[in-house]
């Protein structure tokens, strides 16, 4: 068999193939649900209800989507320039650390100043986290996939060390957790009595900003050129290494904002379970969005809905909530396949 590029993918294809991807994902998960001894349809209904069946469910989904928008954007930006940032998890935790360090009284500033200051510091720290692997890639030719992956483990141990050492909450009954951040460093709730917070709004602003950068600015143009063909980009006079550095700073900064938003908006303090793999799920979110920054918002809400819905379903139907992770991973693989098939035609002879 061989693949031939279709000159122009038709609109129908662009719709049909992703629908097919979803269908395959549903079939796979249905089989697993059956294997777990439940019937698929009621389970999917429970997932849908749990994700969006009530105001409470919907707000939970949006709350869960918030860090995924940030990590999804981080991955989308980096992958556009073919900088394989698999380290959003580490950058997220560094964001959490900086939020706690600056937000627990180190800076006696009022909220309107303190929050932007923390956000800038968080972005710088996260950016620097990714700058390291980017420099190793450009200077020494070290594959950034492996270094960013390994850094995830290093950073988690580093955070664990801080939480059992300098950042340990003296009132925490010995648990490895930090102090709560001060009220002035907290992001307010959007609706009283709900967990839904202004981090979501910041995420939307970030998504729009990234869309604008990619579409309208010379930097966005450079990033796309470097991602598509670094050799040709260099020949045309685009400073490839410099663009990769800028990409690393932006991507790392976005991922770190996820940590900021979780600490300052939701949890209030830093623990070792701040992220149930938001960094890795961000990869799925970005791929489902085909690396489109505005698509990331939709994909993040979709993926968050699956997780939130599956939690609710699991309590009611007894199917393990890991079904959500399986669904998300499967949808990643089916979606990249669908995108490919919509652009290429398979000729068997």
């Amino acid at each position: 068999m061989r693949l031939e590029a279709k000159p122009r993918p038709s609109m129908a294809m662009l719709v049909l193939y992703p629908v097919g991807a979803v269908a395959v994902t549903l079939v796979v998960t249905s089989l697993l649900v059956l294997a777990a001894g439940a019937s698929p349809l009621p389970v999917f209904v429970l997932v849908a209800k749990g994700a969006a069946g009530s105001q409470f469910a919907l707000l939970e989904t949006l709350t869960r989507a918030t860090p995924l928008i940030f990590t999804g954007l981080a991955v989308a930006v980096a992958f556009r320039a073919k900088l394989w940032n698999i380290g959003a998890e580490a950058q997220l935790y560094i964001g959490g650390v900086v939020t706690v360090v600056l937000g627990t009284g180190a800076l006696p500033l009022p909220a309107p100043i303190l929050i932007p200051v923390i956000m800038i510091a968080v972005m710088v720290a996260g950016g620097l986290m990714l700058l390291g692997p980017a420099i190793l890639k450009t200077r020494f030719g070290v594959d950034e996939v492996v270094t960013t992956l390994l850094l995830n483990f290093i950073v988690l141990l580093f955070v664990s060390m801080l939480l059992e050492g300098v950042l340990k909450d003296p009132m925490g009954l010995g648990w490895p957790q930090s102090q709560m951040v001060a009220a002035d460093a907290r992001l307010p709730r959007i609706i009283q009595g709900r967990r839904f917070h202004y981090g979501f709004v910041i995420a939307l602003v970030a998504a729009f900003a990234i869309w604008f950068i990619m579409k309208k600015t010379t930097l966005g143009y450079e990033m796309r050129a470097v991602g598509h063909n670094p050799q040709a980009a260099r020949f045309a006079g685009i400073p490839v290494n410099g663009v990769l550095m800028k990409t690393a700073l932006i991507s790392g900064g976005l991922a770190a904002l996820a940590g900021f938003s979780e600490v300052a908006g939701l949890k209030g303090n830093l623990t070792l379970d701040l992220s149930p793999g938001f960094g890795y799920t961000g990869i799925v979110v970005a791929m489902l969005a085909m690396l489109n920054p505005l698509g990331v918002v939709a994909a993040a809400i979709f993926v968050a809905g699956i997780f939130v819905g599956a939690d609710a379903m699991s309590r009611a139907a007894g199917v393990p909530s890991y079904i959500a992770d399986v669904m998300v991973a499967t949808s990643l693989l089916t979606m990249v396949t669908a995108i490919m098939l919509s652009r290429y035609r398979i000729r068997w002879r």
Partner: protein, 511 residues
């Protein structure tokens, strides 16, 4: 593998009614071709005439939509290189199919022993290679890693690969493109020997003089069809050229002009990097002069092109552009000083395949005030510019939003030419500007280069096609092993003398 039957009346190879379509394009249209035992048939045609597609079908890389192939009277299963190999067909590809991480012996014997055998029979392979090398005069060191071989040696390994498999039919795809004139002659001697031993050969080329020198019969392809078939002894170069092109095209010939001031000067320049590098090179590019650089591929042309493009900086010597000595040097610096670059590889270096025509045409100038302000790209200006280039340079292109990969080679090159020439550059680097183009596009590119020269630009033309260099250039240098001969005026050296120099003989006293 079957041996040739004694019945010599039957052709060893017969292609009947081969048709292959790629979407709307008909690459091969009902092609018939026969090959007799002990015969050399030249398959002549321009780039894009369908030669390579036809051979890829024969060798099983592609499957024809219609038609059939028989070898020694037996049909060959389509779409399976193994079937072609088993039928006794060997192919020497234009781009060698050798694995650099393995030895000559390993490359030759690759795939000839049962994959499930627990042991690779090195000794047996070595004996056979030695025997073949002796019989056919193809000396190679079987234990040398392929990565250490020169181009000519690699080609010998490719031929040995086919002979090792007892090929009776050998297909050579543009085999002389990478050889020096001397190596080409050696190849022709080898081919004569192979034919004398009963092999049959298909020789694919677009060079008329080679076709005349080596073949018994010529089949000319044009636009995917057989345009004609001639016995070599009964035809002329002129007749073949007419068949190949199908219309009268006069390639422009540059008339000399009075040279202007020196615009770019290299003095004793050396470079560092991969591949053949420059060694103490001095060169002057003058306004209104096309300076040609002749040489066999891989002798430092890449380094000099990289240097002028700004991809590498000199490691020694001085470089002066427009009277100013260069200290900082990058592609952007080169562009800023008015050097236009037409790169050798338009697909990998000259364009970004998955970006649009509009995005590609601004790639060298997106920071100019014309195309961006305060970091924001002016896409209206970019679109207008793309439309202007499409118009001015006669590019066939569906829309400025189309991905550039959808353009044909000729159209892509015209666009790159437009991008390079539009800002009225003072120095133009044209590296293999016509490789792989059909003759119409070649003549277009040549006209534009001459036009730029007449406007007062200094042009450096790097080409492996000696005819092209001699036709266009006012002055010619020969490059060999990273060194340049002094410049010769047009007509000062004969073709044979240049060939000698290209092979690296007499570089020292060339002046």
């Amino acid at each position: 593998m079957s041996t040739a039957p004694s019945d010599s009346a039957q052709p060893v190879l017969r292609l009947s009614g081969i048709t292959k379509r790629f979407g709307a394009l008909v690459a091969n249209d009902a092609i018939d071709l026969t090959l007799e035992r002990g015969e050399v048939v030249a398959l002549l045609g321009e780039n894009g005439a369908g030669k390579t597609t036809l051979m890829n079908i024969l060798f099983g890389h592609y499957v024809a939509d219609e038609g059939s192939v028989t070898a020694f009277g037996q049909p060959i299963a389509p779409g399976d290189p193994r079937a072609a190999l088993d039928a006794g067909i060997g192919m020497v590809h234009q781009h060698f199919t050798l694995a650099d991480n393995m030895t000559v012996l390993e490359n030759i014997a690759l795939g000839t022993q049962s994959a499930w055998s627990w042991r690779f029979d090195r000794r047996g392979a070595r004996a056979r290679i030695a025997e073949l090398a002796r019989d056919f005069g193809l000396a190679v060191d079987p234990d040398k890693p392929v990565s250490a071989l020169a181009v000519g040696e690699r080609q010998r390994v490719e031929i040995l690969k086919a002979l090792y498999r007892e090929a009776r039919i050998l297909i050579l795809d543009e085999p002389t493109a990478v050889l020096t004139p001397g190596e080409t002659e050696a190849l022709f001697r080898t081919l004569k020997l192979l034919v004398a031993k009963g092999l049959s050969i298909i020789f694919i080329s677009h060079k008329l003089n080679e076709v005349m020198a080596v073949s018994d019969r010529v089949v000319v392809l044009r636009g995917g069809k057989v345009a004609g078939e001639r016995v070599t002894d009964e035809t002329t170069r002129q007749e073949l050229a007419a068949l190949m092109v199908g219309r009268e095209i006069v390639l422009p010939q540059a008339e000399p002009r009075a040279p202007g001031p020196v615009l770019l000067e290299l003095t004793g320049v050396s470079t560092n990097g991969e591949g053949t590098q420059l060694d103490d090179v001095s060169l002057e590019l003058r306004a209104g002069v096309i300076t040609g650089l002749a040489g066999v591929s891989g002798n430092g042309q890449g380094a000099i092109a990289d240097l002028l493009s700004g991809m590498i900086a000199p490691s020694g010597g001085t470089m002066v552009v427009a009277g100013e000595r260069i200290t900082e040097w990058s592609p952007r610096d080169a562009l800023a000083r008015g050097i236009a670059r037409i790169p050798e590889d338009r697909h990998a270096v000259g364009s970004i395949a998955d970006m649009s025509v509009m995005e590609n045409v601004i790639s060298e100038r997106y920071r100019d005030p014309q195309f961006s302000r305060r970091g924001l790209v002016d896409w209206h200006a970019a679109r207008a510019f793309a439309e202007k280039l499409v118009r001015d340079y006669e590019v066939k292109c569906p829309s400025p939003d189309a991905r550039i990969r959808l353009l044909s080679g000729g159209n892509m090159q015209k666009l790159i030419l437009g991008r390079a020439l539009d800002p009225q550059p003072v120095v133009i680097l044209a590296n293999q500007p016509t490789r792989g183009l059909d003759i119409g596009a070649v003549s277009y590119v040549h006209e534009r280069l001459i036009e730029a020269r007449d406007r007062g630009a200094a042009v450096l033309l790097i080409s492996e096609d000696l005819d092209e260099v001699l036709r266009l250039s006012d002055r010619v240098h020969v490059i060999s092993k990273g060194r340049l001969t002094p410049a010769f005026a047009r007509g000062e050296r004969s073709l044979a003398q240049l060939g000698e120099l290209m092979a690296g003989h007499g570089m020292e006293n060339a002046a």
